[in-house]
C-alpha cells in the first residue's frame, strides 16, 4: 500500500497537464471538476497510504520510495525519492484534504471569471508542488517543491494581472521569497559540505560529526528560508499584499498550506534544531514577536482579507514559537487546526465578498447574519475556534503551544497570552462588523450600487466546504487532547520528532490551571470584542494610524530598501548599462565593422590575385622549412 505513494503527486500532475493542454476546450465548469477530481483522487490515495503506514509498528514507520537517480556530481548523489513517515503523511493528508474542499469552492467562486480553466491549471500545479515539498525525501526535492509553490503563489497572486496592485503584489511576494530561498540554498550547501549528503535520513544520521556552530548556521539559514515562505519577521509584508489574489487562493495558499511549509521544514529538521539551541531561541523569539505584531496590526485593519492575512502572520508566529521551544507536535497540531479554521475564515470572507459585489471593507458590511445564515454561523465557529474558546479545536492547539512556551520562558508565555487575547478580539471585531450591527452596505458603496444588492448564501458548491471545514474546526481538537489515550498526534509523530521533543513535567493540577487560563484569555478577548463592537462601527481610538499603517514597516521597506535599490537600478541602467556595457559592445561592433570596411579591399575578386596570395604563402612556408633545415 505504501508503494502507491507516487500516485499522490501524480494525480494532480496529470490534472495539470491535461488542463494546461485542453483546459480551454473543457471550459467552465468542467475544467474545475476535473481538477477537483484529481485532487480528490490524490486525497483518497493519501488516505490509503496513511492506513498502510498506520498498520506498521511505530518503529518501522518510515518508508523511502526511490524513483531514480536524479543526478550525480562528484560526491553529490541526489535521488528523486519520496519519504513516507508520520510527519509527511500528516502534512499530505491535510494538504490534499483542504485542497479538495477549496477546489470545490473555487468552482463556484470563480464561475464568472473568464480565465476559469487557467485558474485550475495553477491550482493543480500548486498542489503537485506542495506535495513534492512535503513528500520529498531530500532537501533538494523539497526545495523543488518549495520553488514550485513559490512560483504558483506568484501566478495566483497576480492572477488578475491587469490590476497594477495585483501585479506588484505578486512581484513583492516573489522578491521576499527570493531572500528566504537564498537562505535555504546556502543551508543546503552547508549541509552537503558538512555531511556529504542531502538525503534527510543520511543527513540526520551524520549530525554527530558536525560542530555546533555549523549546526546553528544551518538552522538559522533554514529559518531564513522558512521566514520568507511563512511570512515571519522581517520578511512578512508580502503576505498582506498577497490578498490581491482570488480568495480561494488566499485560503489555500496563503493561509492553509504554502505558508505553513516553513513550519513543516523546521519540524522536518528538528534533529538539527535540537542540536542548535541558540538557533531555536532565535526561532522562538522571532515567532512570538511576529505573532504579537501581526495581532496588533490585525486589530486596526478594515479590509476583511487584510485582517485575515495579518491573523495568518500572527498564527504562523505561534507555530514558530512552538517550533522554537521544541514543541514540534504542538506546531503541527496548531498548523492542522489553523488550516481548518483559517481556510474557513477565508472562504467565509469570500462568500461575503461575493455577496457584496467585490467589496472587502468591513465598515461597509454589517447585519449580514440573517441574510447569510450558513456563512455567518460557520464564520462564528471559526472565530471561536481561532480565539481559543473551549471546546473548539483552537483551544487545544493554542493551549498546547502556550504551555510549552511557559516551560521554556514565562516571558514567551506572557507575550503569547497577550496575543491570544488580541486574536479573539480582532476576529470578534471582524465578525461583528460583518454580520452584526447596523446594515451599512446599502448606502456606503462608493459606486452607489449598494442599494441593488441582495446578499444571500452562495450555492452548495461553496457552502459545502464551509460546513465541512466548520465541522473540522470544531472537532479537530480530539486528535491531540492532553489526556493519555487521546494524544493521538503526539504518539503518531513520536517516531519522527519524539527524540527532540521538550519534555513537560507539569502536574495534572498545573495542566488544569493552564487550561482554565487559556479559556479565560479567550473569554476576555471575545467579551471585549462584543462589548466594543456589537453596535458601534467606529472606534477611532482603537484604530490608531500607527497600527493601520502596520507599524510603518511597509513604509520603511519602501523608503529605505525599495526606493534605494530602484535608484541604484536606475543609475546602473543609465550609466553602466547604456553607456558602459552598451558602449563597449557597440564600440567593439563598430571596430569590427570598420576593420571589415578597410580589409574588404583585399578581396579584389580577381582569381589571379588570390593565387598570388597562395604563392606568397608557399614562399613563406618553404622559407620556414629552409630555415629549420639549415639553422
Amino acid at each position: 500500500m505504501l508503494g502507491a505513494v507516487f500516485l499522490i503527486p501524480l494525480f494532480p500532475f496529470v490534472g495539470f497537464l491535461v488542463l494546461a493542454a485542453l483546459g480551454r476546450k473543457l471550459g467552465n465548469p468542467r475544467a474545475g471538476w476535473l481538477a477537483t477530481a484529481m485532487v480528490l483522487a490524490s486525497f483518497v490515495t493519501t488516505v490509503i497510504v496513511f492506513t498502510g503506514l498506520f498498520e506498521r509498528s511505530p518503529a518501522s514507520r518510515s518508508y523511502t520510495q526511490t524513483w531514480y537517480s536524479w543526478f550525480t556530481v562528484d560526491r553529490l548523489h541526489v535521488t528523486a525519492s519520496l519519504l513516507v513517515d508520520p510527519l509527511s503523511m500528516t502534512m499530505a493528508l491535510f494538504v490534499t484534504g483542504v485542497s479538495t474542499l477549496i477546489h470545490l469552492y473555487s468552482i463556484g467562486y470563480m464561475s464568472h471569471d473568464e480565465q476559469f480553466p487557467k485558474f485550475f491549471v495553477y491550482l493543480n500545479l500548486f498542489v503537485v508542488s506542495m506535495l513534492i515539498l512535503v513528500l520529498g525525501g531530500n532537501f533538494l526535492l523539497t526545495f523543488l517543491g518549495w520553488e514550485g509553490v513559490g512560483v504558483c503563489s506568484y501566478f495566483l497572486i497576480s492572477f488578475w494581472f491587469d490590476r497594477p496592485s495585483a501585479a506588484s503584489a505578486g512581484k513583492k511576494a516573489m522578491i521576499f521569497n527570493r531572500i528566504g530561498d537564498a537562505g535555504f540554498l546556502l543551508a543546503m550547501f552547508l549541509i552537503f559540505e558538512r555531511t556529504g549528503s542531502l538525503q534527510y535520513t543520511t543527513v540526520f544520521s551524520r549530525l554527530g560529526h558536525v560542530g555546533t556552530p555549523s549546526l546553528t548556521a544551518i538552522a538559522l539559514l533554514l529559518f531564513l528560508g522558512a521566514a520568507g515562505k511563512s511570512a515571519q519577521l522581517p520578511l512578512y509584508p508580502w503576505l498582506a499584499d498577497a490578498m490581491e489574489g482570488p480568495t480561494p487562493v488566499s485560503a489555500l495558499i496563503h493561509a492553509a498550506t504554502m505558508v505553513t511549509a516553513g513550519v513543516y521544514l523546521m519540524c522536518r529538521v528538528a534533529p538539527i534544531l535540537h542540536l542548535a539551541p541558540d538557533a531555536a531561541h532565535v526561532v522562538a523569539i522571532v515567532g512570538v514577536a511576529t505573532a504579537f505584531l501581526g495581532a496588533t496590526i490585525a486589530c486596526a485593519q478594515n479590509d476583511i482579507k487584510k485582517i485575515l492575512a495579518y491573523s495568518t502572520i500572527s498564527q504562523l508566529g505561534y507555530m514558530f514559537l512552538a517550533v522554537g521551544v521544541g514543541a514540534y507536535v504542538a506546531a503541527i497540531f496548531l498548523m492542522l487546526t489553523h488550516a481548518f479554521y483559517k481556510a474557513l475564515l477565508f472562504l467565509g470572507a469570500g462568500s461575503v465578498i461575493h455577496a457584496m459585489g467585490d467589496e472587502q471593507d468591513t465598515k461597509r458590511f454589517g447585519a449580514l447574519a440573517r441574510l447569510m445564515p450558513i456563512t455567518s454561523i460557520t464564520f462564528l465557529i471559526a472565530w471561536l475556534s481561532i480565539g481559543g474558546v473551549p471546546p473548539f479545536s483552537g483551544f487545544w492547539s493554542k493551549g498546547d503551544v502556550l504551555e510549552n512556551a511557559y516551560a521554556m520562558s514565562p516571558l514567551l508565555y506572557v507575550v503569547g497570552a497577550l496575543t491570544a487575547v488580541l486574536t479573539a478580539y480582532y476576529l470578534g471585531r471582524c465578525y461583528l462588523l460583518t454580520f452584526r450591527g447596523k446594515q451599512r452596505w446599502a448606502e456606503a458603496r462608493r459606486d452607489g450600487k449598494g442599494a441593488g444588492l441582495h446578499p444571500h448564501d452562495p450555492s452548495w458548491l461553496m457552502t459545502l466546504p464551509l460546513v465541512v471545514l466548520a465541522a473540522a474546526s470544531t472537532v479537530a481538537g480530539i486528535i491531540n487532547l492532553p489526556i493519555h489515550p487521546f494524544d493521538l498526534l503526539q504518539r503518531w509523530l513520536d517516531p519522527v520528532v519524539g527524540a527532540q521533543l521538550r519534555q513537560l513535567h507539569f502536574s495534572v493540577g498545573t495542566e488544569w490551571v493552564f487550561a482554565i487560563g487559556d479559556a479565560v484569555l479567550a473569554a476576555l478577548g471575545v467579551s471585549i470584542a462584543i462589548g466594543l463592537w456589537r453596535r458601534v462601527a467606529e472606534h477611532p481610538a482603537l484604530e490608531p494610524v500607527f497600527l493601520r499603517r502596520a507599524w510603518y514597516i511597509d513604509w520603511a521597506y519602501d523608503s529605505f530598501v525599495a526606493r534605494g535599490s530602484t535608484e541604484v537600478a536606475q543609475v546602473t541602467f543609465d550609466d553602466v548599462e547604456t553607456k558602459g556595457i552598451d558602449g563597449a559592445v557597440n564600440g567593439f561592433g563598430g571596430l569590427v565593422a570598420a576593420a571589415g570596411r578597410r580589409l574588404r579591399t583585399v578581396q579584389t575578386g580577381y582569381v589571379r590575385n588570390y593565387a598570388l596570395g597562395l604563392m606568397g604563402g608557399l614562399v613563406l612556408i618553404l622559407a620556414y622549412v629552409v630555415v629549420r633545415a639549415f639553422a
Binding site: M615, V619, V626, A629, F630
Partner: protein, 243 residues
C-alpha cells in the same frame, strides 16, 4: 657539380639532360604561347619528357600511365574543349591589366625555385624510410610491386578514388547539359545548372538563377556589382557601390 654526376653512367646522364631540356622548354612553351592550341601541344611535350624521366627512375608503370592518361586523355580533352568552344584565338600577352601582377609573380616564382633548390642540396628535413614497403624487391617488376601496394596498403584510398571519379563524371554531366524546354522553375531538377547553362535568350527569366549565373551575366558589363541585380540582396549591392 661533379659530385652530382659522380655515380651516373654516361647514357643515363645524356638521357636525363635531353629529357630535362624538353621539360623546361615545354613548360616555358606552355606559359608563353599566345595560342591555346600551341600551349596544349607544348604541354604534351612536357608530359612526354616527364614520362622519360619516370622510366629513368624505374617507374615504368607510371610512365605508361603518364603517356596514356595525361597525354592521351587529359590533353586531348583540353584540345577538344578548345576546339568546341572556338576560342583558338591568340591572346595578347604584351601587358598585364593587373598592375604589378607579372613582376610579383616572377619574383615569387624565383623565390620558390631558389628555396627548393636550396633544399635539394642533399639535406632533406625528413629522413623517414619506407612506410609503405620497399620499392626494389629483387627481380620483381615495378608494376607488380606498385600493384601489390595499391591493392593492399592503399586499398581504401584506391576505392575512394573510384567514388571521386564517379562524382566528377556526374558533375561534369550536370554542368554541361542543356536545360530541358520549357525553362519552368519546377520542371528542372537542378535549377542552378539550368541557370548556368541556359541559352542567352533565356536571360529575361530572372526567377530561378543559380549563383554562378550572376557572375557570368556580369561579364557583359564588367564594372562590377550593382544594386538591384537579380538574386543579389539590395543591401549588399549598395554596400558594394559605396566603396
Amino acid at each position: 657539380m661533379h659530385l652530382f654526376l659522380a655515380s651516373a653512367t654516361l647514357p643515363d646522364t645524356i638521357t636525363f639532360a635531353i629529357a630535362a631540356a624538353i621539360c623546361i622548354v615545354g613548360s616555358l612553351g606552355v606559359v608563353v604561347s599566345t595560342h591555346p592550341v600551341h600551349s596544349a601541344l607544348m604541354l604534351v611535350m612536357t608530359l612526354f619528357g616527364v614520362a622519360v624521366l619516370f622510366v629513368e627512375e624505374n617507374a615504368q608503370f607510371l610512365a605508361a600511365v603518364q603517356v596514356i592518361v595525361y597525354a592521351g586523355a587529359i590533353v586531348v580533352l583540353f584540345l577538344f574543349v578548345i576546339m568546341l568552344l572556338g576560342v583558338d584565338r591568340a591572346e595578347s600577352i604584351a601587358a598585364d591589366p593587373l598592375r604589378g601582377q607579372r613582376l610579383t609573380a616572377l619574383l615569387l616564382g624565383l623565390l620558390v625555385l631558389a628555396e627548393v633548390v636550396l633544399l635539394g642540396r642533399g639535406r632533406w628535413p625528413t629522413g623517414a624510410h619506407s612506410t609503405a614497403g620497399a620499392l626494389n624487391q629483387g627481380t620483381k617488376p615495378n608494376v607488380n610491386v606498385l600493384g601489390t601496394s595499391i591493392f593492399t596498403t592503399f586499398l581504401l584510398p584506391f576505392e575512394i578514388t573510384s567514388a571521386l571519379l564517379v562524382i566528377a563524371i556526374v558533375g561534369a554531366v550536370v554542368l554541361a547539359r542543356r536545360p530541358r524546354r520549357p525553362v519552368g522553375g519546377a520542371s528542372s531538377p537542378i535549377p542552378s545548372a539550368k541557370g548556368l547553362t541556359g541559352p542567352p535568350e533565356a536571360e529575361g527569366d530572372d526567377t530561378d538563377r543559380g549563383p554562378l549565373q550572376m557572375g557570368v551575366e556580369d561579364l557583359e558589363d564588367s564594372d562590377g556589382l550593382e544594386a538591384g541585380r537579380p538574386g543579389v540582396p539590395a543591401t549588399h549591392g549598395q554596400e558594394g557601390s559605396k566603396s
